[in-house]
């Protein structure tokens, strides 16, 4: 515990600290005198990057050719090819064979019966994992059927399955490439970081230009969104393969391909599974946005319900997405786990026969009994009136106090903070951020964060960006203030881990719009509703990392603390907190990323910031501004990432140095 006792000695500390305290103060004082172009960039100095990007992309999508073939023709061919498997899956799962339409519509063959699909999947779950997962699968299936969501769920499943497979395959391939070639890794890392932080709405229009409207555009957008975590996870997983194992492979004379397939990938499977989990979650996250550009399914049900202000029906369809997500996630996790622990032969040939029978018998029966094909509308359950009634009841009885909270927060905290950020001269803000970069990570960090900030300045999105920063900072602060302590508290109660995981998964896959609109009813359009939306989404990583941080504190240290007579609070303050600090800072980093990725969704309740710029240019069909504003969001994310990562590295070094 030398670190508590050590006091920085006089002169050296002062020298170190002047960068930390004096300079920022000096800059702050100077801001009062900064006027003119250094405070607000004049219009003539703004680089019309948006126009160039828009023009360039339009040319690329309409005129550009590769070897005499139009780029657009190539992408269209790809789109048609991608649509085929989606169509087959849809025929199989949702629509059945249909010919003709309108008055001449004829069914040739029914889709697989819901009963068959649910039973066969449950059998799979039973064999791979056990009764628990089989029961969960049954329940999820029953929910989809009884609430009349089955057809939409299968339409969604058809495209989700293809998205997951594509993102998985591409992610693995790119990850392996990056693992083998350091040059490729640097490039890929930069590209993935941008892909992860540019909001989906900003590349939706170019996607539509290249791939046309429809499921394949949705597929492309979803894969771009879900790919980065798979690539990161693959690189990490392959790196974690012990050197001795690789040595063994080399000694036994494995070829490169053999090493990869027989040694590296199997050993890395548990870590690859984390990437797979992220891919599944993020794909289902995109269901709503995908349905905006022609994917249909549950996402479309949510949008339709919300348009008629049927919050209950929207909630039910949203929970349908959660049900799909949970089952898909648990099944893929358990499959990956079995693979890595060598549990094989669980699925016997006899099971295949049973599964085929389970699928075919109810499907054949559905020719005679239509209820096996589609659950009759009259038999569906709904809880929608209850939810609608609840929202309406709260609105009529508790609006007063809620309005008081909203007004106080808005007038007392949010608006003043926003005005402060908007009034700050850009030059001073850039300098301060650069200084923070220098203090945390050195000259390189300072230089790169300053460049990123300057990009925002010269493209003319400074004020919108400051509004984004204000919303993000407040939401992150709130999410951390609630999430971290809660996560830390939960980590001490192992029995709560499972249910909390389930709640967090729900928060991350339940479409935000589902609870955003009731929030609008109670808190009106504007920044306060946006704050609630962002916090409820960004709180999940705060809780997760709070739990993870505490779980990884070495037990010897805690024991040492208790032995030396620390009270529980002292153990926490001086042992647990310092040693989990790097993980906690990474948690803050993830929370910031999540909050930034929610800005675009928050635009749907009427914010005025970068997210709104992106959303509006999508609605207006302007490619350029959408992409440039999206890149500005990415810049903010990268600045936050650079600062926090260097902070985490420092904390880790510090921690290591003390305890060596």
């Amino acid at each position: 515990m030398a670190d508590i006792l050590a006091r920085p000695d006089g002169v050296a500390a002062w020298r170190r600290n002047w960068a930390h305290a004096v300079l920022p103060l000096a800059i702050l004082a100077a801001t009062l005198f900064i006027q003119g172009p250094l405070a607000h960039l004049p219009d003539w100095a703004v680089v019309p990057l948006a126009d160039w990007v828009g023009g360039g992309l339009n040319w690329f999508a309409r005129e550009a050719t590769i070897g005499g073939v139009k780029v657009a023709d190539i992408t269209r061919a790809l789109a048609t090819a991608a649509e085929m498997p989606i169509d087959w899956l849809k025929v199989l799962l949702a629509e059945g064979w249909v010919t003709g339409a309108g008055f001449n519509k004829m069914h040739i063959a029914p889709p697989l019966s819901w009963l068959g699909v649910i039973l066969a999947t449950s059998l799979l779950a039973l064999r791979l994992s056990g009764r628990g997962l089989a029961l969960l699968t049954l329940l999820a299936g029953a929910y989809l059927v009884f609430f009349g969501l089955w057809l939409s769920a299968m339409t969604t499943l058809a495209s989700v399955v293809l998205c997951v497979i594509t993102a998985l395959a591409l992610g693995l391939a790119m990850g392996i490439w990056a693992y083998r070639s350091p040059g490729a890794e640097a490039v890929l890392r930069a590209v993935m970081n941008i892909m992860q932080t540019v909001p989906v709405f900003s590349y939706l229009l170019p996607t539509l230009l290249l791939f046309g409207y429809g499921p394949s555009a949705a597929l492309f957008a979803t894969v771009v969104y879900a790919l980065p975590p798979m690539v990161h996870a693959t690189v990490l997983a392959l790196r974690s393969v012990p050197a001795e194992t690789l040595e063994l492979a080399r000694m036994t004379g494995c070829s490169r391909a053999q090493t990869l397939l027989k040694v590296e990938l199997p050993v890395a499977t548990p870590r690859l599974a984390i990437g797979l989990n992220q891919v599944v979650m993020m794909t289902l996250n995109m269901v709503i946005i995908a349905s905006m550009i022609g994917a249909g399914g549950l996402g479309y049900d949510v949008l339709r319900a919300l348009r008629r202000l049927d919050f209950g029906a929207g909630f039910e369809a949203g929970m349908g997405i959660v049900a799909l997500a949970v089952v898909l996630d648990r099944l893929t996790q358990v499959a990956a786990h079995n693979q890595s622990t060598g549990r094989r032969g669980l699925w016997k040939r006899r099971d295949t026969a049973i599964a085929v029978l389970l699928l075919l018998v109810p499907t054949a029966a559905s020719l005679a009994v239509p209820a096996f094909a589609t659950w009759p509308d009259g038999w569906t359950l709904t809880t929608a009136p209850f939810w609608n009634g609840a929202v309406s009841f709260i609105n009529q009885n508790f609006y007063g106090p809620l309005e008081a909270i909203r007004t106080a927060t808005l007038l007392g905290v949010m608006n003043p903070f926003r005005d402060l950020l908007l009034a700050a001269p850009w030059s001073a803000v850039v300098l301060l951020v650069a200084l923070a970069g220098y203090a945390l990570g050195g000259l390189r960090t300072a230089f790169s964060v300053a460049l990123l900030m300057l990009f925002i300045v010269v493209t003319g999105y400074w004020e919108a960006a400051m509004s984004s920063v204000y919303l993000t900072v407040l939401s992150v602060a709130l999410a951390l203030a609630i999430g971290l302590p809660f996560g830390i508290w939960v980590s001490a109660h192992p029995r709560l881990h499972q249910p909390v995981q389930l709640v967090l998964d729900t928060l991350q896959t339940l479409p935000t719009l589902v609870y955003l609109l009731p929030a609008v009813m109670l808190f009106r359009n504007g920044d306060f509703s946006a704050l609630i939306a962002i916090v409820s989404y960004a709180i999940a990583p705060a809780v997760r990392y709070g739990m993870a941080g505490m779980a990884h504190v070495p037990s010897e240290r805690i024991e040492a603390g208790i032995m030396s007579g620390c009270t529980p609070w002292q153990t926490f303050r001086f042992v647990r907190l310092p040693s989990s600090l790097p993980t906690l800072i990474l948690g803050i980093n993830q929370t910031v990323m999540m909050a930034l990725s929610m800005l675009v969704i928050a635009a749907l309740v009427g914010t005025r910031e970068l997210g709104q710029e992106v959303y509006t240019s999508l609605a207006r069909g302007e490619t350029g501004p959408g992409i440039v504003a999206g890149l500005c969001v990415a810049c903010i994310a990268l600045v936050a990432d650079a600062l926090l990562k260097s902070g985490a590295a420092r904390a880790a070094r510090h921690e290591g140095a003390v305890h060596v």
Binding site: E83, M84, D87, W88, K90, V91, W97, V98, T99, G100, A101, G102, F103, N104, K105, M106, I108, L205, L208, L209, G212, Y213, G214, M292, I293, G294, L303, L306, R307, R308, L309, D310, A313, N395, Q396, Y399, E403, T407, L410, L411, N415, L513, L516, L517, V520, M521, R524, N525, A603, L604, V605, G606, R608, Q612, Y615, T616, L618, A619, R620, G621
Partner: protein, 318 residues
């Protein structure tokens, strides 16, 4: 692909016994009907889908954004849209037709109107409504804590345009314009206020279900003329444009120009396709308020009005 397999199956299994296919469509290329996110368009497009597919056309419905549709129509990614509202799309539509790549297919029938709207119970709190001048004296009645002493006017999503900021300035109204994020968020606020009989002033458009469910009226601004938006000297305020209400007007059908050569008969049907404004309002009510599926409501209409739409399809009846 699905269609190919399906028709192959059909040919194999049914052989000669295929249903009466008196009319052979000019092309089996898919006709792509655009659907956007509001209900009237979903319903009338589904009706057109039923009609065209009854005559054997290969029809696809494609979701597209209201304002983002034009590149799609110019390149042939979208073939037909039944609703283009003059109120918001006038300029973009005219410009797109001028390229020669897009056809104006005539009016659909219903009359589009949109403007500032208030619930009936606000007349007590602000006597003198619906005349716009009354707004000058009752800003306080429409105020929210963060806009006080100014009134709060909830405008549509930024992407709708609408020139409300300019209108407020030109008519010197003591109001702050707040933009809703989406259409749904806007009506969520209306419902919330209406349940509590609380003050609200917002942008509403017709045909829509809201005016049939909530009692209220449009503010009567000086009526729109083209000159009002372009000529500052026009109207009340001699130095500013936009000193009038929002334009009302047609809802037009549009189509990809080259499609005329591919499916002349389908284009003829689309030109003749019209709906009555009141009829559309009722269909929208069935879907939005009674929560019935669009397909069911459209099929019901098609069954009831078979003679009517068969008469539009004269070219397919030979």
């Amino acid at each position: 692909m699905k269609r190919v397999i399906a028709s192959a199956m059909l040919a194999l299994t049914l052989g000669a016994a295929s249903p009466s296919m008196a009319f052979e469509p000019e092309s089996d290329q898919p006709i792509k009907l655009m659907i956007a996110d509001w209900s009237s368009m979903l319903i009338d497009t589904e009706i057109l889908n039923i009609i065209l597919s009854t005559y054997g056309y290969n029809v696809e419905k494609v979701v597209a954004d209201d304002s983002a549709r034009y590149p799609g129509f110019e390149s042939g990614d979208l073939t037909i849209a039944l609703e283009t509202w003059q109120t918001t799309q006038d300029k973009a539509f005219t410009a797109s037709v001028a390229t020669g790549k897009v056809l104006d297919m005539g009016e659909l029938g219903p009359h589009a109107k949109e403007d500032w709207w208030y619930p009936a119970y606000m007349e007590e709190k602000c006597p003198g409504l619906p005349d716009w001048k009354a707004l000058k004296d009752c800003a306080a009645a429409f105020a929210a804590p963060e806009t006080a002493p100014k009134g709060r006017y909830l405008s549509g999503p930024v992407s709708w345009g609408g020139h409300d900021e300019e209108r407020v300035k030109a008519l010197d109204l003591p109001f702050e314009v707040v933009h809703a994020g989406t259409d749904a968020a806007m009506f969520a606020e209306l419902q919330s206020a209406y349940e509590r009989k609380a003050p609200i002033l917002l942008w509403i458009y017709e045909p829509h279900w809201a005016p049939t469910v909530y009692a209220g009226s449009f503010i009567k601004f000086p009526p729109y003329e083209a000159a009002c938006y372009s000529d500052p000297s026009w109207g009340e305020n001699k130095t500013a444009a936009y000193d009038c209400g929002k334009p009302e007007g047609w809802i037009k059908k549009m189509a990809w120009a080259e499609g005329e050569k591919v499916w002349p008969c389908a284009y003829d049907i689309v030109r003749k396709f019209t709906m009555d404004g009141k009829e559309v309002g009722e269909l929208v009510y069935e879907v939005d308020v009674k929560a019935r599926p669009v397909e069911e409501v459209a099929m019901e209409w098609a069954k009831k009005n078979e003679a009517k739409w068969r008469s539009w399809a004269a070219c397919a009846q030979k």
